[in-house]
Amino acid sequence: MKFWGWLPVGIITSVYFIALSGLLSEINSNELDLSLNHHYLIKIIKFSLIQAVLSTLLSVGLAIPVARALHRQQFTGKPFLLMICGLSLVLPVIVAILGIVSVHGNTGWISHLLALVKIKANYLYGLAGILIAHVFFNLPLASRIFLLGLNTIPASSWRLAGHLGMNSMQIFRFLEWPLLRTQLPQVAGLIFLLCFTSFAIVLVFGGGLKYSTLEVAIYQSIRFEFDIPRAVLLAFIQIAICASVFIMLTRRSSDFSLQNLSELTVVRIDGKAPKSRIFDTFILIIFMLWIILPIMAIAGGAFNLPAWSVVNSDGFIKAIKGSLLISLSSAAVASLIVTSLCYFYKFIGQNSSATGLLDLLVQLILIFPPFVLATGLFIILKGNMSITGPVIVIIVNVLAILPFMMRILLPAVLFTRRYDQLSVSLGIINLNRFSQIDWQIIRKSFALAVGVGMALSIGDFSVIALFGSQDFQTLPLYLYRLMGAYRMEEAGVIAVIICLLSLSAFFISQQIIGRNSA
């Protein structure tokens, strides 16, 4: 038990250790010339912060009226809207970018509309584009969390509010705001972190040099200039900023999960006022269009039949092979690691500082720039990139999906605690214990974790941008390339294929692993 628990901990620790030692070995041989890029450095840090703060303010600020409207209005399309909301959360970033370009791009739907009134729309590239994409992802996220919070306000409070004749403003002030305020730091911190470390969105919409974040600058330093010292410097700045936000977050930790969106049982009287109705309807229509248009644009890509010829191209074959290789092996490796980690967690469960360390180790990847990690690994592993490249992509991918898989699997594994004494007393131990008891209990969560891990890997667009070549690529990289070459119709088909593949990975894993045995 102990050994199998220490093994993955050792593996993860050594991955970071190897990467760091690789990076440090490069720094010794090169002098770090800070003076030269001092100016540029400050500019990048400033822009990273500004765009993240603006994205956070917009997402959170808009999410409050959206969540209120969703909470106090009942309408037929509500479950559908919530579903679309959830869909936007799991959409691969690069796929969503394509959808946003199709809607907001210079030749997109909105600019076509505006052209009717003779306005030339040209706003997508630069800060605006980055904000649009960040809000696309994070507004639904924040809205859902806030809605969950609002759902926890007890029915008695609403009755009381009705009894006292509170108006919408007063309800917000006395009922909703006190609750939202407790969620606010967490939600804002989470969104800030996501936007601060955002890569693909800034890469595509940042216009190359004009708007660059630390994450993109790290990527460019490595890929374009092979300037490891600068990449490491940038990485440490990013880690430092993220870590301080992260620590602030965990200090005032109150766990909220994104599941169990319970239906409102009380009808709020303030939603019935005509003014609120008009306002909420307006808000919800904008919100719905905001999310649904890019998704429709993506789905629409499937109906461009001639563009399906792209599946015959050499590039596509290589990309889908690459994607299958990466996602299957990442999910396979990660599921082994995550299972033993969860059992290790259960094993040391009494010791809260040990479990805290374990959490930290697993979540480190969320603030550790993947490019720096991958480069450090490569410096040590060396060799032909067409072989070590995929291996490193898989390693980094495994680390990246671990936190998500662990969050799904851990509760199930901890649930098996309740059978510990009974099993031991009945002599159900070792393999019998696992196959008769634990496996039956965790298999659904395990299947879900594997599905999520696979789906995330299929949509991943990070380290592959560093190691990809014409011969080793994945579907997201191929999509990025097609977009780069402005072959939007074919890109649309690839986007649909990525989504279908993610979905089927999800469902197939549930079918094969998660199905109840007869």
Partner: protein, 236 residues
């Protein structure tokens, strides 16, 4: 006969010491405040905890070095006696063989046990479709098929109403006599064990402070009440 020979154990600053014996066909009630050592006692006998010194015997066999499932005992917990994802048949079968590979006579014994607890025909049902009392009776059926001479009960009536309690008590009493079981019953409520208990002990700060050996008779009402009212009774 179950025998604890100056079994000592310590956890944090608390010292525990147990020394008593219990014959087959008899039921011993274990009472005391929470934290007094009731669960520790049960866990020591069951093998979830290891004594610092002393020994536990069943007859002449020393059992405190055996793995929990190798000890000649079976346990009825307060809750989580059944695996929710397994049906009644499997839950009982696991008590015979953890691999669930059963031969014909073993399969038959499961049906017999279910008959005995008046749950014939529920083989394929899942625990969640049973009532709380039925679930405990399934657990008792498993105790039956395990046919171990010692039965440990840890607040087995948690969450059951009076009627169900007396049903199960009748069943346990019957088994005690038929199978000559040595029963050690942890409870906070003397009423729970009324009519079945033969002996009783009261624990305080990890020590036995009252031990009542009632050699004959069917009830122990008076001493049990006594135990409840006068916690400062001296050891025998």
């Amino acid at each position: 006969m179950l025998k604890l020979d100056s079994v000592k154990f310590n956890y944090e600053t608390q010292d525990f010491e147990f020394d008593f014996d219990l014959a087959g066909g008899r039921c011993m009630a274990v009472m005391g405040e929470s934290g007094s050592g009731k669960s520790t006692l049960l866990n020591l006998i069951a093998g979830f905890l290891t004594p610092r010194s002393g020994a536990i015997y069943y007859g002449n066999q020393r059992i405190d070095q055996l793995a929990p499932h190798q000890r000649p005992l079976t346990i009825l917990f307060q809750e989580h006696n059944l695996f929710n994802h397994l049906n009644v048949y499997q839950n009982i079968g696991l008590g015979i063989r953890p691999s669930l590979k059963l031969n014909e006579s073993e399969k038959q014994s499961i049906h017999d046990a279910l008959n005995k607890v008046n749950l014939a025909g529920t083989e394929n049902r899942l625990p969640e479709s049973l009532s709380g009392g039925q679930r405990q009776r399934v657990a008792i059926a498993r105790c039956l098929v395990r046919s171990r001479p010692i039965l440990l009960l840890d607040e087995p009536f948690g969450g059951l109403n009076e009627e169900l309690k007396s049903d199960i008590k009748v069943l346990l009493n019957q088994l005690k006599k038929e199978l000559n079981l040595a029963m050690l019953w942890v409870t906070h409520d003397p009423d729970d064990v009324e009519g079945i208990v033969d002996e009783a002990m009261r624990l305080e700060h990890g020590k036995i402070i009252t031990l009542i050996n009632k050699c004959v008779g069917e009830t122990l009402t008076a001493p049990a009440t006594n135990l409840k009212d006068n916690p400062r009774n001296q050891p025998k």
